[in-house]
Structures are given as structure tokens and as C-alpha cells.
């Protein structure tokens, strides 16, 4: 979608009958005498959720100006015949009764493109049907526990991830970098305390579960502190009281400061690196670049329960 028009898709798209969607998309590709931009589409992105959670997703997709996608936005309601709007390569279905969600996705997906379903909430049982229609499920529910409980089954049918997990990508990479330092690897068996601070306790627990499942380790002391209003994760400390590793957002919030304090030659290591764009657009963009099953996520989700 181009930024100039699709950002207002939900308000200003052309209203058409469902059966004429593809023809309308073709017409909208040539507007006011202008030829449609030449794009090699890479995916169909289906955003599903309650109406109040669709506008920011639509905005994020409009910002994806450098990834050519075909966007479908479906909001729940009680209509068997929803309002349908199209704009360039995008379709919005408003107020669809959840019962017909799978039918709509089945009709609108294209066999020639991978389909990514961005799940922004709703009855979790609907995911079972979507998993058969999607190549990739990206969960993004406000309360993720009920859908996380389904991940192991869903992942057998479609690669499954979660935007909370996407937010942890750089935090995970930075922790992994420490493990390349021989002195850290030597000290790691003694690390028994994990403290995580941030605004999203679910993300914090997922991070802890990733460490536990990957290192096959259970922290003797796990502290998860909620810090409302800030970033999902703001600080991670792992250590034994004397030696340890610390990751925390820098004052600018766009960077992460990392520091290792362990015994041995050059055991003090610190640096500042970019946290990367944590906006919805960047996060969904990252998910669009991944096509394979994410076993590390599946293991981490499975381990979350063990930390409760």
C-alpha cells in the first residue's frame, strides 16, 4: 500500500460488493489515469481482531512502504455480510461475524502468495481454522495466555510466533553475544538470579522462559517487576550477586547498554547498541521476513507455565 492513501483505508476505501473484490482491486490499481506501481507482491497479510485493535494495525501496514504486501483487515461484529472496502492491494471487511472468519480468509487469500495471519485477539478457538489457511500465524493478543496454550498444536500446522517474541529479538541476541565470551561461559553455571523489569510482564516471562528452556536451567530467584508506561522490557540482570550480565535501555530508549562483569582477563565488557525500531510496522516487517518454524519460540512458550 502506498502511504498517501492506504493509511485511511478504513475510512476512505472504495465500498464494493464482496464478489467484486479482485476486479475492484484491479480498477483501484489504475486511479486518475496513473498506472499502478510495479510491485512483486511478497505476501498476503490478514489482520484479524476487534475493531478497536485494527486501526493501529492498518496504520502499521500503511507504513510498510518498502515491503510489497496484499493486506486484508477483518474486524469482528455480527454481520454475515460485512462492509467491504478496497484500496490498491488492500481489502477491509468490517463487522464480520466470527463464525465466517475462516470462510472470508479462504476466499481472499491467494494460493500464489504466502499468507500471514496477524491475530490481534478474539475467540482463541478460531485460530484452529486459521492455522489451516495460513502459512504463518503471528499472535498479538492483549492477554496472550489462552492463545499460548494452543501454540504447540497450532505450530504443527502453521509456523507460529508472537509479536511479544518479536520485541525480544534484540534482547535475546545481546544475551547470546555474552555467551561467546569465554569468561562469561565459565561463570555462567553459577548464575542463579534473574531479574527483569518492564511494562509487559508477559514479555518478561517469555524472556525468562527462553533463557530457562535454552540453557535447560531454572533460576533460583526470578524477579519480574512491572514498570508501567515504559518499554516492554527495560532491564535484564542475570548473575550470582558478584558476577553478572546486565542489559538495560539507555536514556534515549532507542539503545541498549550491555555490561558484563566476570572474573578473568578482559572480563569487563560494555557497549551500547541500537534497540532497533520497536514500532508495530517494524515488528510485523520482521515477521514478514521469516518463513520457517520458530522452535525457540515454541520451547519458550511451553516453558512459561513452568516459571509461574
Amino acid at each position: 500500500m502506498s502511504d498517501a492513501n492506504a493509511g485511511r483505508l478504513l475510512e476512505h476505501g472504495t465500498e464494493v460488493p464482496f464478489s467484486e473484490i479482485e476486479a475492484a482491486l484491479g480498477r483501484d490499481g489504475v486511479q486518475e489515469g496513473k498506472r499502478a506501481s510495479s510491485l512483486a507482491l511478497t505476501a498476503t497479510v490478514v489482520v484479524v481482531g476487534p475493531p478497536e485493535r485494527l486501526s493501529d494495525a492498518a496504520e502499521a501496514l500503511t507504513q510498510l512502504t518498502d515491503i510489497a504486501i496484499r493486506a486484508i483487515l477483518i474486524s469482528y461484529g455480527d454481520r454475515a455480510t460485512p462492509v467491504v472496502r478496497v484500496w490498491e492491494h488492500a481489502v477491509a471487511l468490517e463487522g464480520l461475524t466470527p463464525h465466517y472468519l475462516n470462510n472470508a480468509v479462504a476466499a481472499l487469500r491467494l494460493s500464489s502468495l504466502p499468507t500471514l495471519v496477524w491475530w490481534r485477539g478474539g475467540p482463541p478457538e478460531l485460530l484452529d481454522g486459521l492455522a489451516d489457511l495460513a502459512d504463518r500465524l503471528v499472535l498479538d493478543a492483549e492477554k496472550p495466555v489462552p492463545v499460548w496454550a494452543r501454540v504447540s498444536a497450532l505450530a504443527e500446522r502453521a509456523a507460529t510466533s508472537d509479536l511479544r517474541w518479536t520485541r525480544l529479538t534484540r534482547w535475546r541476541a545481546l544475551m547470546a553475544h555474552f555467551w561467546d565470551i569465554p569468561e562469561v561461559r565459565a561463570a555462567a553455571p553459577g548464575f542463579n538470579r534473574l531479574r527483569i523489569e518492564g511494562s509487559d510482564l508477559y514479555a518478561a516471562r517469555l524472556y525468562a522462559a527462553w533463557l530457562a528452556s535454552t540453557l535447560k536451567w531454572t533460576p533460583a530467584a526470578l524477579e519480574v517487576h512491572e514498570k508501567p508506561g515504559g518499554a516492554a522490557i527495560e532491564c535484564v540482570e542475570l548473575g550470582d550477586g558478584e558476577q553478572g550480565l546486565k542489559l538495560r535501555t539507555a536514556s534515549s530508549s532507542t539503545c541498549i547498554e550491555t555490561a558484563a562483569r566476570v572474573h578473568g582477563h578482559a572480563g569487563e565488557v560494555s557497549r551500547i547498541v541500537s534497540l532497533g525500531d520497536q514500532g508495530l510496522c517494524a515488528l510485523i516487517g520482521e515477521e514478514l521476513r521469516i518463513r520457517s518454524r520458530d522452535l525457540a519460540f515454541e520451547r519458550a512458550v511451553a516453558a512459561v507455565g513452568g516459571l509461574e
Partner: protein
């Protein structure tokens, strides 16, 4: 790039790297740049390191040591980074990441022929990280390669004390000036470094489209069956620049387009197009097949060959490029007014193999051409029967596959379509894929990819010693003939045109023509 060997340098395996979405990072590394005060460091290397550092592609323990003849100190080198980022990376104000990177920058100065420099360097490495890997980058004039390589060997810095404390060296082009000098240089390098420690850089190989060429050919079942003499008429490879010699006259006068572009960049592209499928995507397998392709290229005949010359050279005259008048090559600063250095060269190669027998590969490159572009164009044979000739006057254009290497990286296919209407009219249409519009995220600069590959220990995108020598073996006889002929003047083309008439004749003699780009 690929990650075929990086695990071997990270001992034991790091469990937290399993399933990471960010691409693999090297183990602890110190980058030593010889030529830290030079243009390459300022324009390319420091911005590339900054971008890698910023995007978490470098290890937690990473440092840079700049080395140069002048002893300028750590602070100067750190200031150099700030200037470089401001000028070439768009970082106008120093950010937290740049500040953090400067804290890991050090400087060692002195005469590269003086052993004391290397003792100081060894001391610095010991202080910074005695257990990590060290990557030496020779960003220095070729005349200084031998001195630095000898000294690295003599000081013991070339030897890897352990798998994690690896030692590697990146050597910039030109790798020699002819076959003999390339062999000599390889011999010298191998005296102190094993081949798997040596990374001969060709930044063309770091470009996404060049890497994509292998994916395009070997990850798609539909192209490889027609990638041969039965379906392909000929191949054109063009590397056109709008710039003149600029500040490189001192080097370029002794090099010319044949050495500067063809021997390295364009022979790499030719080998990627012509190579047989490797048995696996491993460095050795890929490089073996590329070498096979190069060894199949027939020697270029001299100008008296019965089917005409296979090589055309020319020099730009005054003209008009990108909106302004420009001087002739001979009028450029620091250029000999009687110079016969070629700024344009066009060649026709034949490859003796079952796949390519009878399919010419035309290559052209030049300075002061109308636009900056590098592309590979594969022109297919026309259909065997012209069934539409009775209904349309125009001849059917042959199918064309175009691989754009720069600046607009992507792949296009030209095919015939029916014009809408009641009459049967044909018209060629293009179907295009562009990296810029299809995939998100910024495309990494070639130097980022290649620096990281060298730190990880993956040589797939670097030239192996035998490839370099095979390439020089094709080019050197041409130079030798030119040297013996010693004309007072070589053909001249007007700046802003697509080369001399002789280059067009090279194609028209075969009933073909260069693509108008």
C-alpha cells in the same frame, strides 16, 4: 551471507545462538586496519563497521585498531570515525552507539617496514583481547602489501594460536598487475598465511543481486533447464560509470579499465553466470565451479583473427555527462597528456563447454558513459518458427532476462504480449522484480556483508588464489599485445556516449547489438 563455517570458530557451541533471528555474529574479534588514514577506511570501512555495530551484528567483545605510517594516536582515530560517519553514513551528531564504538578504537602508527610497529601492535592486541580473533585489513596501496605481509609473518601475528584466536587477512584489489605479479603475491601470502586465512575482497561479490544470482539459478527449477546454448543466444555484461578518473589518476594510469574492472569484477560476474551448479552451497564447492567456468574461457585472439578483434579499447574525450561538460581523459589532472590508458573496453569471450559452446559473452565497461549502471542481460533465442509474421509487420523481440546489479538491484524479464484490440498486434512487456519494492529493511552495503563474512570465516564471496590467477591468465596476454603495439593514440569516444564505434562493430559483425541502457 551463509554460515557454513562460523561454528567451527565458536567453541563450544553457544546454546543461546540457537534459533536467533539476527544473523550469526562472529566470536570476539579485533579488526586491524592498515591504512587507517586512507580514503577507503573513511568512506567505506568505518561506516560499515558502525552499521554492523549498531545493528548488533558484531560481538560483545569487539575492537578496532587503526594502523598507519603517521603516528596520530587513539583520539585522532576516534575523531576520524565521527567525521566519517557524518560525511558518509548520515550520522550528523554522534549518537550513543558511535560513542560506544569510539571507546573500542585504538591507533598504532609507524613505518610499516619497521618491526617495532608490529611489536606495539602485538602489545595492543594482548591488552585488548588475547583470546579473540584478529582480522587484518590491508587498505593500503598494493606496493605496500609485501612489506606488511612479510612483517605480519615475521612478528608471529599471522599465526592463529587457537581456533578461537584465529588470524585472517583481507587483501584489497588489485591483487597483482599481471599473471606473474599475482603469482608472486600469492606465493608471498601463502608463505605466512594458509589459504583459508586469506580473503581477497571484491566488493561486487557483496552486492545482493550478485548473491541472488546463485539463488536465482540454483533455487529455482524453471531457469536452469534453459540456461544453456540451446536456448540462450548471447550474454551481455555491462558495467558503466558516469564518473571520470577523478582522484585516482596515479593508480588508473597504470591500470586502465581492463585491469581495474574486467580482471576482477566482471570476471566474477561472468563466472557466476557461466558456472555449473555446485554440489552444495559451501565456499569450496561454489568457488570450484566458478574456477571451472573461468578455465573454460578461451584465450582472447589478437586483432588479426579471421572473425575480427575480440577486444576493443578506447579512451574518453571531452563531452557532456549528467548535465555538465567534462574534459577529455588526457586533460584530467595528473594524467599524462599523451596517455594511451584505456577508459573503455569491450570484449567477446567464448566458453568451451557443453553448456556454452557457441554462446558469446560480450562484456563492456567504461568511464564517462551516459549513465551509471551494471547489469547482466541474457538474450534468449527467438522462437524457432515465426508464426505471427503474417499478421504483424514488426519482428518478434527475443526474450530477455536482465539482472540489475546496480543501482536499482533487481531482475526483469521481457516477453511478448498481445496488444489489446481486435487485431493481432504484439508488443514486448517487462515483468520486474526490485529489491527496493519487494523486501523491507535496508539492503546492507557490500562492505558490511564482506567484513562480517571474513570475521565469521566464510570465504564464499571472496576470490580464491587460483581464480585470481586464472583471471590474470586471460587478461595478461591482451595487455602484453597492447604494450608491444604501443600506439600513439587509441580510439576516442565522446564523454556521454556508449563507447567508440569499434565497440558497436564488435557486436554488429555478429549480427547483434549492444543494449541501449
Amino acid at each position: 551471507m551463509s554460515s557454513v563455517v562460523y561454528d567451527s570458530v565458536r567453541m563450544p557451541a553457544n546454546p543461546l545462538q540457537d534459533g536467533l533471528r539476527l544473523e550469526p555474529t562472529p566470536g570476539p574479534t579485533t579488526l586491524v586496519i592498515f591504512g587507517a588514514t586512507g580514503d577507503l577506511t573513511r568512506r567505506k570501512l568505518l561506516p560499515a563497521v558502525y552499521r554492523l555495530f549498531r545493528s548488533q551484528r558484531l560481538p560483545a567483545r569487539f575492537s578496532i585498531i587503526g594502523a598507519a605510517r603517521e603516528d596520530r594516536g587513539d583520539d585522532w582515530f576516534r575523531t576520524q570515525l565521527r567525521g566519517s560517519l557524518s560525511e558518509f553514513a548520515g550520522v550528523k551528531e554522534e549518537d550513543d552507539v558511535a560513542r560506544s564504538l569510539t571507546e573500542r578504537m585504538y591507533f598504532v602508527g609507524g613505518d610499516f617496514a619497521d618491526g617495532a610497529v608490529y611489536r606495539r601492535l602485538a602489545g595492543r592486541l594482548q591488552e585488548i583481547d588475547s583470546a579473540g580473533g584478529v582480522l587484518f585489513y590491508l587498505a593500503i596501496p598494493p606496493s605496500a602489501y609485501a612489506t606488511v605481509i612479510e612483517q605480519l609473518g615475521a612478528s608471529g601475528l599471522a599465526a592463529s594460536p587457537s581456533p578461537a584466536a584465529w588470524r585472517r587477512v583481507i587483501v584489497e584489489k588489485p591483487f597483482g598487475t599481471d599473471l606473474d605479479s599475482a603469482r608472486e603475491l600469492n606465493k608471498l601470502v601463502h608463505k605466512h598465511f594458509a589459504e583459508d586465512q586469506v580473503f581477497r575482497i571484491d566488493h561486487y561479490l557483496g552486492k545482493e543481486t550478485v548473491q541472488n544470482l546463485m539463488v536465482f539459478r540454483f533455487a529455482n527449477g524453471m531457469f536452469e533447464p534453459i540456461w544453456n546454448r540451446r536456448y540462450i543466444d548471447h550474454i551481455q555484461i555491462t558495467a558503466a560509470e558516469t564518473v571520470g578518473v577523478e582522484r585516482r589518476a596515479a593508480y588508473y594510469e597504470g591500470a586502465g579499465a581492463l585491469r581495474d574492472m574486467v580482471q576482477n569484477h566482471l570476471m566474477q560476474l561472468l563466472s557466476l553466470v557461466a558456472m555449473e551448479p555446485p554440489i552444495a552451497f559451501t565456499a569450496e564447492s561454489v568457488r570450484d565451479r566458478k574456477l571451472d567456468a573461468l578455465l573454460s574461457v578461451q584465450p582472447l585472439q589478437d586483432d588479426s583473427a579471421p572473425d575480427g578483434p575480440q577486444v576493443v579499447r578506447a579512451q574518453y574525450g571531452a563531452g557532456w555527462v549528467t548535465g555538465e561538460e567534462v574534459p577529455a581523459y588526457r586533460s584530467e589532472p595528473d594524467v599524462n597528456p599523451a596517455s594511451t590508458t584505456e577508459t573503455f573496453v569491450a570484449l567477446k569471450f567464448h566458453i568451451d563447454s557443453w553448456r556454452w559452446a557457441g554462446v558469446p559473452f560480450y562484456i563492456r565497461t567504461g568511464k564517462r558513459l551516459p549513465k551509471r549502471t551494471t547489469e547482466i542481460a541474457i538474450q534468449f533465442r527467438r522462437p524457432p518458427l515465426q508464426i505471427f509474421k503474417r499478421v504483424t509487420a514488426a519482428s518478434v523481440a527475443p526474450n530477455l532476462l536482465i539482472i540489475n546489479v546496480q543501482p536499482d538491484e533487481g531482475i526483469s524479464v521481457r516477453f511478448e504480449a498481445k496488444l489489446p484490440g481486435t487485431r493481432m498486434q504484439l508488443a514486448p512487456v517487462m515483468m520486474s522484480f526490485r529489491y527496493g519494492t519487494s523486501f523491507g529493511g535496508s539492503v546492507p552495503e557490500a562492505y558490511e556483508t564482506l567484513l562480517l563474512d571474513a570475521m565469521i570465516g566464510d570465504p564464499t564471496l571472496f576470490a580464491r588464489h587460483d581464480f585470481v590467477e586464472a583471471s590474470w591468465a586471460l587478461i595478461t596476454p591482451v595487455h602484453e599485445r597492447w604494450r608491444q603495439a604501443a600506439p600513439e593514440q587509441i580510439p576516442v569516444y565522446e564523454s556521454g556516449e556508449w563507447g567508440p564505434a569499434e565497440a558497436h562493430a564488435l557486436m554488429t559483425r555478429d549480427g547483434r547489438r549492444w543494449r541501449t541502457l
